[in-house]
Amino acid sequence: MRAALHSLRIWLAEPRDGFALAAFIAGASILGIAFLVMLCGIPNRYRKFVVMSVTFVAGLFLSLEFLLPRDVVSAQGLVFSIGAIGLIISLGFAAKSAAARPRDIRGLGIWLAMTVASTAVAYFASSLRAIAVPLTTLSKSLTTARPAVGDLAMIISSFAVLLGILNLFQIHGRAVSRRTQGWYNSAAFFVAFFAILIVGLVMDWRQSQLAHLEPGSPAFTTVSRANTINSNLFQILFRGFLTSLESTMFSLIAFYIVSAAYRAFRIKSAEAVLMMVAAVIIMLGLVPIGASITSFLPESGIFSNLRLERISYWLLIGPNMAVQRAIGFGIAVGALAMGLRIWLSLERGSFFDRQL
């Protein structure tokens, strides 16, 4: 049986060409459509289960690849850790039940028994051999699969590129068809969209043509002349419009900071004073003129620490570093919590909650 399966796999993976290729692609597409129709046919009550299990399995990939032991020693370490966690948790529950319900001996007894069991697990961990082999082979194969998963994730997510576009087409298409006020803006949207898309694709097409033509031949010169015209048009659209528009958009903020500095930033509270003082010191400390304000102080020795750039640098590597790390710890634990909730589909937010 295994040999048949193996030869089938070889036969399927065999690259096809010409008519056979078209047939295989058609066959595969029909298979795909059948799969989609089958998906549509799944009754309502199983749908949430399908989504949850797909999410769970997808989450297993990177977590197991990282968490599973790589060799016998680390396998024993894993069992020891499971014992240690069991010990800590059961001690915690034992303490909690003793405090909450002092007379409940039976409850306390259960947790104490759990404590003993966990210590046993931890203690005997180093003698276990058998479980190591399957776990380590699984984790190694997951690591070797990582490039394939990375590759596929990039390709399949690229298919989603049109998601946002369809939406924009809907909005601007409606504006153009109904001639609503300012419809010419939406028309400009379509012109811009197709202009850069077509010029780009033609540029690729020309370049692939040039790659096949033999340099110096007449066909080559005509195609390369067309290619230079096309890439010049592309440069006009790309550097002339797209990059200029985006960088000008970004630079708008400088103006908004200027007017915000003047109108919006008010020292309403002592906290705002502290923030503003720190901000001003950092701003002056980083730029050349700022540093020259305190350039009269000596270069080294105690007083050199009062130079503006020194204070500014100390603020950055001292208090600021501690604050950013504290915020970072909070966000990291938050990300772990959110990861668990998504992976185990515990998320009760309005999105997952509805009947799928």
């Binding site: 490039p147 394939a148 960088s247 200027v258 003047y262 020292i267 002056l284 730029v287 700022g290 950013q324």
Partner: protein
């Protein structure tokens, strides 16, 4: 209206024009004097790049697009110039379609200037859409398969520089040039697990957040915005040539003093208004 009231509600468009005036002088005079001091994280960034051994290549990962070219552009050019000068082979991997085009154009300009050749001294891998963690974690194990081709769709195995780059073992340093928080993905999936130094070139807004990673050694060095680029230029021998980064550093000085004056002015009016506790909608809003 007294002087105070006039100072209180300057038309914001006057402020905008004043900004252009304040900023313009250094940009036009093009001073060649670079900022005097070099922060220690810029020096350690230089050392991390300089120490890359000849049998390894560097990855310059650019996440920026045209929007932050004014900050990330000089950083990218300074690092590329340093690698060309030192003969360190590098690949550029762009996660923004617009940035891919700009970094290629800058790279080829510097390569031509320093007589370096595409495919031998440097390769541009073009744009990858991500998800970044999937591509980066996959790349660490099998570089050829995940990246597969360069910006001209030429297979990596046919390009001399990337022919024998198999996985993370052939990578000597990762330089992450970004306006957003993508460095943590490199730390989690590439540089920290495999012990590869990460040089971080953020826009200034992201710099303050990175100091814990410098303190813990997860980042080998950092270029803080265009000031970091200007300081890096002094380390690679551009100390007295009139570069954009040097001019920008002096323009920045003027702009900062202008902003601080505006904050002071705005609050001066606000405080006097409040002390005179005049009834008035303006102070309340």
């Amino acid at each position: 209206m007294g002087v105070f009231e006039k100072l209180q509600n300057l038309d914001r468009r006057i402020l905008y024009v004043l900004l252009a005036v304040v900023v313009s002088a250094p940009l036009l005079i093009r001073p060649s004097r670079h900022p005097g001091i070099v922060l220690s994280e810029v020096q350690s960034a230089y050392n991390a790049v300089d120490r890359v051994s000849s049998d390894k290549i560097a990855i310059i990962s650019t996440v920026w697009g045209a929007g932050t070219e004014a900050e990330n552009g000089p950083q990218t050019e300074a690092v590329m110039r340093h690698m060309f000068q030192k003969g360190i082979k590098f690949v550029v991997l762009s996660w923004d379609p617009v940035g891919a085009e700009i970094t290629y154009r800058d790279g080829s300009r510097i390569a031509k200037e320093l007589g370096k050749h595409y495919g031998v001294d440097w390769v541009h891998l073009g744009y990858r859409p991500g998800p970044i963690y999937a591509v980066v974690s996959g790349m660490a194990e099998d570089f050829q398969r995940v990246i597969d081709h360069d910006r001209f769709n030429k297979k990596l195995k046919d390009i001399p520089l990337t022919r024998d780059v198999r996985s993370h073992r052939q990578i000597g340093v990762v330089v992450e040039i970004t306006p957003s928080g993508t460095a943590t993905t490199w730390i989690a999936y590439f540089t920290q697990p495999y012990g590869i130094p990460l040089v971080y070139c953020p826009t200034a807004v992201m710099a303050a957040e990175a100091y814990p990673y410098l303190d813990s050694g997860q980042m080998a060095g950092m270029l803080n915005g265009v000031i970091g680029a200007a300081q890096y230029e002094t380390l690679i021998g551009l100390g007295n040539s009139p570069t954009y980064a040097a001019a920008a550093a002096w323009s920045l000085s003027a702009a900062h003093i202008y902003i601080i004056a505006l904050i002071f002015l705005g609050n001066l009016g606000f405080l006097t208004m409040r002390s005179r506790n005049r009834v008035g909608g303006r102070a309340g809003r």
